[in-house]
């Protein structure tokens, strides 16, 4: 009997150890990949072999070659250079939108979860209402209203990300509120603001960071989708989704235009996803899938 049960335990531990290793690998792959993207975002213009806007009319739609690694687009611009320079735009939109959404989402969630009562009900009702508009549709409606541009795109993504964050933080705070150390802190007369910032926020931070990382991947997907639809960054500025949108009409004659920008988007989304999943397994094992 003893032998059987201990072998079962050993087997489960073996699996868990393997899983932990794989998840750790995810964390490192995600972080490394993201670091590479950040370097490209900073030095993109230096790294780019050509001006991303310069047109070489003799090379229209050229397939990949040693002069143009990823080929040339429909108006004679070097795809690689546009990808490298466009990295900053994509990354900036993603990081800005999750940062601003993070600040508002966390603030709403903290206030709503901690104070409860009427404040909570008003905030929750508004967030629930916004959650009933599919985020992509909400983003499209906002872009339609504020105009298609990088700024409009950032606003749209930000607004559509605040409700899920607020809901997440609220739930976490309501859980934490019942903990002994919170009532202890209250008993010794700690101010509400201090309690929120010094005790509740640090204990909710792991959940928030994980969610932000996963949302960053979503931001890249939504941003490039809107770019693809012509509702994001406007030409001639290079942006991955818009590059794919423009290459649509050349699908029959120059399908190679489609490959590199799509891989770039997928890799960046993968980096954020891997980072988020890896972080979740490390800091919040109960929640991992």
């Amino acid at each position: 009997m003893v032998d059987v049960s201990s072998s079962v335990v050993a087997e489960e531990e073996g699996t868990a150890g393997w899983r932990r290793k794989r998840r750790n690998a995810f964390l490192w792959i995600g972080a490394t990949l993201l670091a590479v993207f950040i370097v490209i975002a900073i030095f993109g213009r230096v790294l780019a072999p050509y001006d991303p806007l310069a047109q070489d009319l003799l090379a229209l739609l050229d397939p990949p070659s040693s002069a143009h690694w990823f080929g040339v687009d429909g108006v004679g611009r070097d795809i690689l250079s546009r990808l490298l320079v466009g990295t900053r735009t994509t990354l900036l939109i993603a990081v800005l939108s999750i940062t601003i959404a993070g600040v508002f989402g966390v603030a709403f969630g903290l206030i709503s979860g901690y104070f409860g009562g009427l404040t909570d009900r008003v905030i929750t009702a508004l967030m629930d209402l916004l959650l009933t508009i599919p985020s992509m549709v909400l983003a499209i409606a906002i872009v339609a209203a504020v105009g298609a541009s990088a700024t409009g795109l950032t606003v749209a993504i930000t607004v559509s990300f605040i409700p899920p964050l607020s809901r997440l933080v609220r739930g976490r705070v309501m859980e934490l509120r019942e903990e002994d150390y919170i009532s202890a802190a209250r008993t010794i007369g700690m101010s509400r603001a201090r309690l929120l910032v010094r005790h509740l926020l640090p204990n909710a931070i792991s959940v928030i960071v994980i969610e932000l990382s996963l949302l960053a991947g979503q931001a890249v997907l939504v941003g490039s989708a809107l770019g693809f639809l012509g509702l994001g960054v406007q030409p001639p500025d290079p942006e991955w989704g818009a590059m794919l949108g423009a290459s649509r009409e050349y699908l029959a004659v120059a399908p190679h235009l489609v490959i590199a920008p799509g891989i770039a988007i997928s890799l960046l989304v993968f980096a954020f996803n891997a980072l988020g999943d890896g972080l979740r397994d490390r800091f919040d094992p109960n929640q991992s899938a």
């Binding site: 508009i133 992509m136 209203a145």
Partner: protein, 306 residues
Amino acid sequence: MLRFFAYRLALIPLVAFGVITILFVIFKSVPGDEAAIVAGSAATQAEIEHIRVQLGLDKPLIEQYGRHLVGLLQGDFGYSPTFRGNPLPRILERVPATLLLMLSSILVTIIIGIPAGVTAAAYQNRWPDIAISSAVVALLAIPNFWLGMILIAVLSVQMGLLPSFGLAGPLSLVMPTIALSARLIALVARMTRGVVIEEMRKDYVRTARAKGLSRRVSLTRHVLRNAMIPTVTVIGLQAGYLLGGSVVVERLFAWPGIGDLLLAGINVRDYTLVQGITLLFVTGFLLINLAVEVLYVQINPRLRHG
């Protein structure tokens, strides 16, 4: 159960009212003269003023809002410059195409996602699992419109197998469905895998195995029944993706649905049309979530008296 259902159903108009208000605020804060947009760039100042009075845009905002609400109650979405009138009938005639795309995507998600997840769980940490889990990670990172473009390039342009645009016959459903359902398939497979692994460790499965039931039978007869729950969960959680993603996929494949019409409305700044379609999307979202909750209770009788 019935009371719960009725309560949720009654909530829909309330939410719709809130969403209508939010959309009204968003689109009234659009910079630029609404009457001038409706009149078009060739209109004279007199024509613009005429339209302003005709559409009631000279009235105070609160009155416009009231008229908007009353209009919506009567099925009047307002004046759409694209259709020179109430766009509702023209929106509704495009609903079936979008519904078709969504239903086929959900169907494909079930057909592929569940078996993939169960297979991965049954061969946990061996090569079928590693292959499926890797595919899941990849599918969650690939944008749906890129997947669609690759499909068009390979299956339509290179091989000439499938039509790349429009809705004409069942073949034209194939690529849009794959593009839209890829993400859902990945999520369902991942969640099913997790649930099946968890269930297989439980006592009732151990009992079944101890009684001499084969691994396969215990899996299909006992575990699989519980594996339906994550599928329903994913579809509920991803209802927003399904609706939003359909806009992108419809544009790529020139699919004659409401997503395509929404983008057409944005291009000509037809805000009546945009608001109307957004409202329809929200209604669809609420209905999907209601259906999900009903399904939950159907699958899991324990919730019936909750």
